[in-house]
Symmetry: D3
Subunit: 171 residues, 6 copies
């Protein structure tokens, strides 16, 4: 039986930090499934379809067996459907840790057969987050070293459209 | 003079973590007043009346002298009106600590006669929060081990109503 | 070449904690520029003009060379326009630290010539925040020891206006 | 039945931060017992007798009913012997919180009848610790505003004795 | 190729928290190697041989393929010798996280082929640590619910020996 | 008047993380004084003379005006003697922040004319610490990318000497 690891997230949009984690996971586990949360609640900047597309394009060049799927509903159900028992999450900072550890304990109660394993973001990406990236891009800042090329293009297209809400500035 | 301890919160909804804290406080202090914040600002999921009702039902079986009240305005004023000088708050995690300690210092400045005392959530409930509970329930997950029976029923009723906003999934 | 230190923030509104930091910075650096973030995004309570006015009035009595400006767009661009290489930020708590350190690393990547330096809030103001101040004032609490006199007046005016949204209470 | 609160610690030596906490507790609880840990393990700087003496002298002027005792062995046993069910501890910082919360859960398991309640150190004393005080005094620094007069005298006596180990300097 | 996960530690002594983590890891990974650090530096309470013996006895009843080995030198070398690429560590608290994340990044630099994965301790064992256990046992407290039976016996034997250093008490 | 910034530390030994911070500080401030703590208390691995020598060699190639001095006694006194009012410290992690903020407040009370400013370690060095470096070197691990060449040589010499205590292994 192949060990399958699931990497869930909102990926709104996927950053180089996410890509690096996927790459590292794919080097360790025979099969990695990237689960893009497709639910309506968090009112994402990019639609579920756009986000799945950007993830697919980004991981295309990674080695290893990587699949990209959209999911709705409880994560533990999606994990079960994948036939997986390993959930991977990245930790960048203490605040991540608190939220993530509560989530991991909650998910463990909802599905005791799956375990959450945390990987530490490498130093180069510890400060990267999807929301920082969007804020900088909204102000015309250069994010080309922080996201895959396809995401960079999508952000530029979005923020050059007239009428698009502008951010306030990193302060 | 009887020592009165006040336990304030939004309780939207009350969880088993809250109930356990109330029970522990009622075992120590002769009188415990649960203060349900009734203000309009945080746009709670349940109305103040519903929340007070659920707290009342939940603590009904706890031993000790427990009262449940709604309050509006500054907490320190409500505490004074109760004739209390002890404010009890639960701490689950570091992020709680930061916010709570700032609040405690602020409240101390507003009313130097009252002191905030923190209790540590026991391990069984450290991961429980009202917002997690709502998110899981919104996705059809089972929260019956996390909240009192009355709250479980209320959540089921709410989320089975057509047109009710659905959550995104624990991810 | 004069060493210029920039102190950016939203100042919505300025508190005595901010004033104290500006005073301490102005005692060390020959020139301090307070940069008030004027962007539309965070939907501030006071307008950019009001906030700049309140900062100006508040620092008027501080010794040293202090300038107050509004900025829009990326902070690093505003810093460059000031001819400054020192960005000053205050740290009150751990949660500040996490966010601020990510921001500092991000800004460093966007402009390697500028450095962020953090000062620790003195004990008297460690618990003060603009949002606490607004919440207390919205409930009719006394904030006159927490903000400059002009801010106190503005808050009173705002919250005595009929139809103004009321806060929920510190809980 | 009188509510008794126990405040345990090493008090090596007692600082103004400890005194302030004892004063605040004595204003709330009818009876406060300060428990000075007398065990041999941590190789304290002052002997158990000296520490008890300094605590007694320091709380002499506090109002309320305050007793000072030495204890050996498990804290929960000492608490039981006092007829108390309330253990009070001060929290200054996050690192305190982690250690203290683990201790509180451990003590709860060892004696479910006692509860630990945490008070937040007020701003003036948040940075004070017995070890900082000793380090500064060892270097000839002035700690007279940080400790009670008796402790200040004892530290001066100790560090003026030839052959006494000198500290390294606050760096 | 079988996925091998390595779980390194000092295990001085092994607690029920460690056992639970090993059990969870063995349910997920085909093969788990428990690596007991045998180096001289930290002056452990139990010798390397005693610690290995206690771990072996403790995991004997766990299902799955579990091996117990002693290692000296760099962890990354021991991992390589096991033919493993997965290092598992438990996280109980923030302070764990800081130290562990620095270690993980360091080990990654020393051996980029191995990845550290973190599991969250379940609530029942979040407060457990080898040093707490030793301190309580040294004071005659009951630790039989915190450690495997063999460890409980060893601790009792050790602390009943005359001349054995006694602890100070949980305070 | 030239703005002088003081960078104090134990530097036992200096790492590439320290060097990078000195370089960044020297790019901002006209004059930087590196203060090597020479006190006896912490029983450093390298003597004060060795540490000063390693720092001097390491910063020799940095641009800007950098001086290296040894100090004994209170830091605030050494800062005053340098004619400086700016103390620079690096922050890598939360645990640094807690300790450092308490120290900064303490030093501020001892000398209100000096201010501590914190810089965030860049990502490449966030995990580096003098003690990790010593531990790895003691086990024969390669630290040549973590410390200046002179320090690498000194560590190799020290740990190849027979009878030198060996570390336990990064676990």
């Amino acid at each position: 039986m192949k060990t399958i690891a699931v990497y869930p997230g909102t990926f709104d949009p996927i950053t180089n930090g996410h890509v690096e984690l996927i790459r590292r996971a794919a080097a360790i586990f025979p099969s990695v499934v990237v689960l893009v949360s497709g639910g309506p609640k968090k009112s994402p900047f990019f639609s579920a379809e756009e986000r799945v597309g950007m993830v697919r394009e980004a991981v295309d060049l990674c080695e290893g067996s990587i699949e990209v799927k959209c999911f709705r509903g409880l994560l533990v159900d999606a994990v079960r459907e994948c036939g997986a028992r390993i959930i991977i999450r990245g930790l960048r900072a203490i605040s991540d840790f608190e939220y993530e550890s509560q989530m991991a304990l909650m998910n463990r109660r909802l599905n005791p057969d799956a375990e959450t394993f945390f990987m530490i973001s490498t130093e180069d990406h510890a400060y990267l987050s999807s929301s920082f990236v969007k804020e900088i891009a909204s102000l015309g800042g250069d994010v080309s070293t922080m996201v895959p090329p396809g995401v960079d293009r999508s952000l530029k297209t979005r923020f050059s459209t007239p009428g698009q809400e502008k951010g306030e500035g990193i302060s």
